[in-house]
Point group: C2
């Protein structure tokens, strides 16, 4: 569990000035927030980044057929499929995480019971990575060896680098991701709801999506970036994702339409 995909951890301190006078306070929030707010934000980011590209790209592609009705139907079909898939996917992902943690903790518990000396050596090894000699580490090792439960907790975190997942967040995460996807995905479709000309609607949809992608890119980059330059870069990058997906989608449907119409 030492690595993540699509999961941008955001803490209050990330958004604060590094030279903040409230350094200490920020740092505290920083740690506290690690397991709560960042998760919510990262779930939203996951939902938004996909919701802002796929529904837009699909409807852009379908618009080349000239029927706003088809665009709306395929768009909504995708929107709900995607939201359910991402939401339930998030739910299952979190549940797997919890299973995995339980299994690994059980293994670790067993090892501490069966091979305590081997586990002690593993603590020495962890500290050795930081050039801490056995003598210096002994105090910590012996102290841990006296408290088995805490010892296992220590190994889980510092040897296996597994963090205890929060069972209660499973559904929150699923709903956050699914809703973020639907909310961000509905905007590019609005033009097709109200306009009759699919091509005109496409241009309005491009405008809406470009604006939302840029805004999202700026916000996202702002939360993780270190400089103004990176904010701009991040915003443009996010825009490129949507543009690339939409262009490919449009070309594909258009090409197929012509090919099958010959």
């Amino acid at each position: 569990m030492t690595e993540k995909t699509h999961n941008i951890v955001v803490t209050s301190s990330t958004m604060s000035d590094p030279a903040s006078l409230e350094e200490g306070k920020t740092r505290v929030q920083h740690i506290e927030n690690h397991s709560t707010q960042p998760r919510l934000l990262s779930d939203m980011i996951i939902g938004f980044s996909d919701g802002l590209t796929v529904p837009f790209a699909l409807t852009a592609g379908m618009s080349s057929l000239g029927s706003t009705r088809l665009v709306v139907m395929s768009g909504l079909a995708e929107l709900f499929s995607g939201a359910i898939s991402m939401g339930l996917g998030g739910y299952l992902g979190n549940k797997s995480e919890i299973e995995f943690y339980r299994r690994e903790r059980h293994r670790e518990q067993m090892e501490v019971d069966l091979f305590p000396e081997k586990e002690k050596e593993e603590i020495y090894d962890i500290f050795a990575e930081y050039e801490i000699e056995r003598e210096a580490s002994r105090g910590v090792v012996e102290s841990l060896a006296r408290r088995k439960e805490l010892w296992v907790d220590f190994m889980m975190k510092f040897e296996l680098e597994l963090m205890k997942p929060e069972d209660n967040r499973v559904w929150v995460s699923a709903i956050t991701i699914g809703l973020s996807y639907m909310i961000s995905g509905i905007f590019p479709m609005i033009p097709y709801f109200i306009m009759k000309d699919a091509t005109k609607a496409l241009f309005v949809s491009i405008g809406i999506t470009a604006f939302m992608l840029l805004a999202f890119g700026v916000i996202k980059s702002y939360m993780v970036a270190t400089s103004r330059r990176q904010i701009v870069v991040g915003a443009i990058e996010t825009l490129i994702v949507g543009a690339a997906a939409a262009a490919v989608s449009y070309g594909m449907v258009r090409g197929l339409d012509h090919a099958t119409n010959l």
Copy 2:
């Protein structure tokens, strides 16, 4: 970075018998694999779980319009949009992770330089969580205090629980996710390519997808589950995601089709 979404870490040891005689060896692999193979596998899982549900659900919905041609066009449009969005999304996600790590390390470096005593206290606090007294911790703390770079590394991992992201994996991850999505997403569409009757094709598509979802569910659960029961549960859960998405998508397109045909 202490938590992940959609990221199931899989290690060789997860698949090995806990009572394995090669316990030691497995454990070593276990740790080594944490940052490499699991990431690849989790990227594939992310691509597959979405690729097996959304394209299937969308095409199922569109099939209610009775034209395999429309199904194929919308399906392929979705397939490419989704793959590009997920792939580039993964790319940007990993890049943000790297940015975030750099920023946080810079902060930590600054704190170690400016407030060494405060940072020392933070090490004592980390150990205090495991009921390790100051006396026992002193050796480690003083030893770290003598090596600033390693001290910062230690704080990054043990205080902030941030793991150094691998820059070189950014593209690998993007391609893995995108390809997994396309490969898994193309299967449910095959019937629509070769059959003329959209409804008949739908049933074949359901069969293909159900089989793939179950297989995927079994494999995924096997890699993280602890018991046969969980494997079955996991497989059924994965199947439910696809079924729910497809049903909603079908009902939506069908309903809209009728409503707009009145």
